[in-house]
């Protein structure tokens, strides 16, 4: 006997069967002398048993075709399902409708350029961020080529924001078509899998504009323009959580 007092944790570990044999014997001996505790521990074990039995049939069900892993591995780059596109289209409609209205409100001081950029960023987010298969065209491992490619297409040096300090890793990026020409989209995610999008393109109006919040649908973000280039950061976090990240992007972009 070690004479260590029996703790609440010991009792749960006893129920879960994860104690060392010696300790398990000590707990068993303790329970013999404490029938009230023994009843409680027995009740916890019964609970476990009941829960397992109640949930067991789910694990015994045959897997639906959508969860066929071999097929998912063989075709990792399959096109997003019809459903996903339908959802993306619906999101775009709701952002275009409701979102457009909200954006008009918050970006009234700068109609035209910045509002359009904010909307393009929101569209890009709702189409590409939910894509679990191919959200980006070039991955982070090819970031040098990505930067060169988008800089060539935008005819501007584009700086790739590094958001690791804010807890977001670069996933990669792609070129986006807008009515104002090509834009570069970069996507990031954090440990929870939450994604952010940074969109940048040369501005036709609003060559320089202060940072303004925008929101629509279930995304929000910030847009601004500096020296002819427009930027918008979009995510699903609350706008205030995105503000420091937007500040960081702006700071880094200024050091080109």
């Amino acid at each position: 006997m070690t004479n260590r007092p029996i703790t609440e944790d010991d009792l749960h570990a006893y129920v879960d069967g994860v104690l060392e044999p010696e300790r398990e014997a000590e707990v068993a001996a303790y329970l013999e002398g404490h029938p009230d505790m023994a009843r409680r521990v027995a009740a916890f074990s019964d609970q476990c048993d009941l829960l397992r039995k109640a949930l067991a049939p789910i694990a015994d069900e045959p897997l639906p075709p959508q969860l066929n892993l071999s097929r998912m591995i063989e075709r990792p780059r399959r096109h997003p399902s019809f459903l996903r596109w339908a959802v993306a289209a619906m999101l775009m409609l709701s952002i275009g409708g409701l979102g457009g209205w909200v954006m008009r409100g918050s970006l009234q001081a700068s109609p035209g350029g910045l509002a359009a950029l904010a909307q393009e960023a929101a569209y890009s987010y709702s189409v590409y961020a939910p894509d679990r298969v191919r959200p980006v065209e070039m991955r982070a491992s090819d970031s040098a080529q990505l930067v060169q490619w988008v800089s060539n297409r935008l005819k501007q040096p584009v700086k790739l924001p590094d958001l690791t300090g804010s807890g977001y890793r670069l996933m990669g990026g792609r070129l986006i078509a807008t009515s104002h020409g090509p834009a570069a989209m970069f996507m990031y995610d954090d440990d929870r899998g939450d994604r952010l999008v940074v969109l940048t393109r040369p501005m036709t109006s609003d060559q320089s504009a202060p940072m303004a919040p925008h929101s629509g649908g279930d995304v929000s973000g910030f847009a601004w323009a500096d020296g002819g280039m427009g930027y918008s950061l979009v995510g699903q976090a609350a706008a205030e959580a995105l503000r420091p990240i937007a500040n960081e992007v702006r700071k880094q972009a200024r050091t080109i």
Partner: protein, 175 residues
């Protein structure tokens, strides 16, 4: 590639069980599992060596969490009491089925963070350390939540819990 199949495939039934116990809707749960598997395939290189179960449960749990947060932001409640009875065990005899349904209803009334711990430890057999990893909380917190979950569920089972109105349990952050 073969590794991926060999290591992930046997875990899929358990992932479905956990997802269903969290969201209580077959289609929504399987969508979550599908997202989880796609993510696991594309991030296969980022897993740690060893048992892939904690890693897979972490992905699944985080996806469920961000889905809950999105729904909450849209102001849409996922009422976890509104499960379709047919979503649970189909071939158990009727009386047993009712008993199982009853304990699952009671499980649904636990706070989300407590329910998650109880499921991972008592049903999915994760070690306390692995459960802590999945939920991104210290092991001490796992133990205190486990203790509270078991006490609360026992009160529910014995009918001594404060009567909580049904169907209003809302999914909050599970931290």
């Amino acid at each position: 590639m073969n590794d991926m199949l060999r290591l992930i495939e046997p875990v899929i039934p358990a992932l479905r069980r956990y997802a269903r116990a969290l969201v209580r809707n077959r289609a929504a749960a399987d969508d979550l599992v599908q997202d989880c598997l796609e993510r696991a395939i594309s991030h296969w290189g980022q897993r740690r060596e060893g048992d892939p179960r904690p890693w897979l449960f972490t992905i699944l749990h985080n996806l469920a969490l961000s889905q809950f947060r999105r729904s909450a932001r849209r102001g849409k409640h996922i009422a976890i009491g509104e499960a379709n009875e047919n979503d649970f065990g189909q071939d158990a005899v009727q009386e047993q089925k009712l008993m199982y349904q009853d304990v699952l209803d009671k499980l649904a009334r636990l706070p989300d963070d407590q329910r998650a711990v109880l499921l991972l430890v008592a049903v999915e057999d994760l070690s306390y350390a692995d459960a802590a990893r999945v939920l991104d909380i210290p092991v001490g917190t796992v133990m205190s939540r486990l203790s509270r979950a078991r006490e609360k569920l026992q009160q529910e089972i014995e009918g001594t819990a404060d009567t909580v109105p049904k169907n209003v349990v809302q999914l909050r952050s599970m931290k």
